[in-house]
Symmetry: none
Amino acid sequence: MNTQKESGNTIERSKTQKYCTETFLKIPESKKDRILNAAISEFAKNGYQAANINVIAKKAGISIGSMYNYFNSKEALFLEINDIGYRIIKTVYKGINDKKGDFFDKFEKMIKSVQLYSRKYPELTQMYQEITSEGLSHLSKNITRKIEDIALEFYTNAIIKGQKEGTLTANADPNMTAFFLDNLIILLQYSYTSEYFKERMKIFIGEDALENDEKIANGLMAFVRRSLAP
Amino acid sequence: MNTQKESGNTIERSKTQKYCTETFLKIPESKKDRILNAAISEFAKNGYQAANINVIAKKAGISIGSMYNYFNSKEALFLEINDIGYRIIKTVYKGINDKKGDFFDKFEKMIKSVQLYSRKYPELTQMYQEITSEGLSHLSKNITRKIEDIALEFYTNAIIKGQKEGTLTANADPNMTAFFLDNLIILLQYSYTSEYFKERMKIFIGEDALENDEKIANGLMAFVRRSLAP
Amino acid sequence: MNTQKESGNTIERSKTQKYCTETFLKIPESKKDRILNAAISEFAKNGYQAANINVIAKKAGISIGSMYNYFNSKEALFLEINDIGYRIIKTVYKGINDKKGDFFDKFEKMIKSVQLYSRKYPELTQMYQEITSEGLSHLSKNITRKIEDIALEFYTNAIIKGQKEGTLTANADPNMTAFFLDNLIILLQYSYTSEYFKERMKIFIGEDALENDEKIANGLMAFVRRSLAP
Amino acid sequence: MNTQKESGNTIERSKTQKYCTETFLKIPESKKDRILNAAISEFAKNGYQAANINVIAKKAGISIGSMYNYFNSKEALFLEINDIGYRIIKTVYKGINDKKGDFFDKFEKMIKSVQLYSRKYPELTQMYQEITSEGLSHLSKNITRKIEDIALEFYTNAIIKGQKEGTLTANADPNMTAFFLDNLIILLQYSYTSEYFKERMKIFIGEDALENDEKIANGLMAFVRRSLAP
DNA sequence: TATGAATGAGCCTTCATTCAT
DNA sequence: AATGAATGAAGGCTCATTCAT
């Protein structure tokens, strides 16, 4: 199992959208990663409001002046990081969508991806949770909207295809089903990243919940399969 | 449908646990309500960090000095409000548990309660979401723990009883099932209170999602019934 | 001759217009004066931009927090002080206007007032000069506009009355004359308050210029009388 | 009327006094002009304190590193520009002094020069006003002193010559008269360059004041002539 | 010499908390 | 008990200046 801290990761960044300055684009990748990881960590731990830009700079080993040479504001830094999360999620959905297999294969891959990426980028995922709870919707509306669009498309496509092929019950309303499935996925994600939801999962499933990915995946697959198999 | 603003509500407060001072207990109920409602509103709108105690005092029509006579810190005030949320949830679970009906009746009541209380106490519910974010989990650990215990008990009791009575498939693992059902309920709650999740629900279900409680309730019941009916 | 530093003065403040908070209105006059005098001094010495609010607070012997309890921003503090200057000028013009005497008597009183008030409120006068030079017109437009209106009214009234009574040459265009007379008064004021213009006056009139109010007043009166006497 | 923007001008620079580095002297004239014009523009618009050296460098199309290769500090750049203003003023006085004509011819030329140069170098003239403000007098003491000396010499020479020739009343004290005349010229200059004094002139003379150079020149000449003609 | 990334002191402002009345 | 003025640490951000390349 991958328990590697997120802080050691190389960050995949968008080439099109950017919230950083030109200067930031020119610095070494390792430095970029240090900065973005420090920021992700701080935002994830404290939320947007309580996150301290000076602390992020210090953690990243750069001066506050440089921080502002790279990002014009706290908001810009936050949005850049949001965008990273978006890129990752998009990649995940795409990867699953492109693979072969029936609906249930895809949903199972979705579960495994949540388990994998929650461990690879725990803080990024935590941050995603912050965004949805704090009064930050105005900041990240564009980004989160894009995520939802991708998710919706992924699910409805897979569901409709499944119903056409007869591998999915025709009784299930596609939109409704997409909604509940994504709900289950989102809360699964929270359960692997948020301290609060980790505790909660242990209470429901048992102290060893976090070390039994297989069991949980199977449990969720069974729950969903019973509901959607024809 | 109850669209009454939360701010007019009389607050049910715990008699055992308390985060307030003795002084607070002695003031008139109406004043208590004014204070707590002002606090709920401010915390829900801005999050814990950005919430301003001086503003809460002003909104409540008391002096900041009195505020600190009633609660020793911002944290204490926040925890008091958390506790209110806990009391409400507890009451809801209790109410449903005490009623007659099979498992599906109870789960349907759960859905209706979410829809009802999300509208009755929207800001309180928003706040619950805040709590689960990283920055605050340390604050409210014991409160949320209590909520989870109640939820777990509610679900497993209902499930096991259902399986005994034969109204629920014996294939479903009780803990697993309890977990996924509660996940669905939690995200439903978010979908009625958080700005972010409201938008998301509209994307999945349609612009009129928030005005079709019945449809959503039926959809979720169908999804769950197919999975858990014997 | 009055060489008393401005810092010892009691400030005349407007009762109608205000840029301060309610809190400021309630504190003792002596404290108000300390704050306003500290502010005047700092703004006069450094100009608006370079003036440091924290330094003003320290000079006034209050905390920065209190400073912001009294004035919501640096700008508000600046405008309050502007307004004080306006009040004084208004009073001066009024005082002169109400007195008896022909045009030249009034203009002579104007000169004496400049000499008197430049010494009584040197820093306030310096500040007035700053306002007109820095890119601050947007800040103090209202106030300076009101000053100009008063000045214009004062001069044109006196001039037209003088021309009617025959104590002033009918050849002089009233507006033009008002303009040039006020120009002379303004630069006289600068010459008594600004370090730069003080030096300049010494170069033109002699090292003892600042101790010869009478001589300068007489010189200016002669200059003007020759131009405007019928 | 010359309404040409100052930014296109070629800057006349002092050969003796210098605040720049040796390096600056070696770069092409066009580059020098770009830098100085950018600096004048920025200083005039924002004042010394709020002027941003990095912005000036960017406007001038050079790197901030080069800027500091040319001028050792913000102050040095500012002083260099002051010196340019000094050179221009010196040239103006010299030009008028060398021309033939009686005192009033010369004073009229002075007025026209103010009107001409205020439009040719509006920003430079604005800056002159800044200099005289308290915050900066220490910076430019020697430069402004030189200007005053020239002005004094100009006026007293012309006045004494006029009195000798009998074209000027013998009643006028030469120093006093020089002082008041220069005062009138200085405020005329302000009235053509400073936003504040432009507005003021409009209030006194009329909205079209800035388009009636002739009228104002005549008005001032009349005012002065009545005072000083024998 | 030219570049522009890097630096960090300093500034305006906020707000939880204290305390005299 | 109630009030609200007072406090000051802390945070986002700017910009003159330095220095490695």
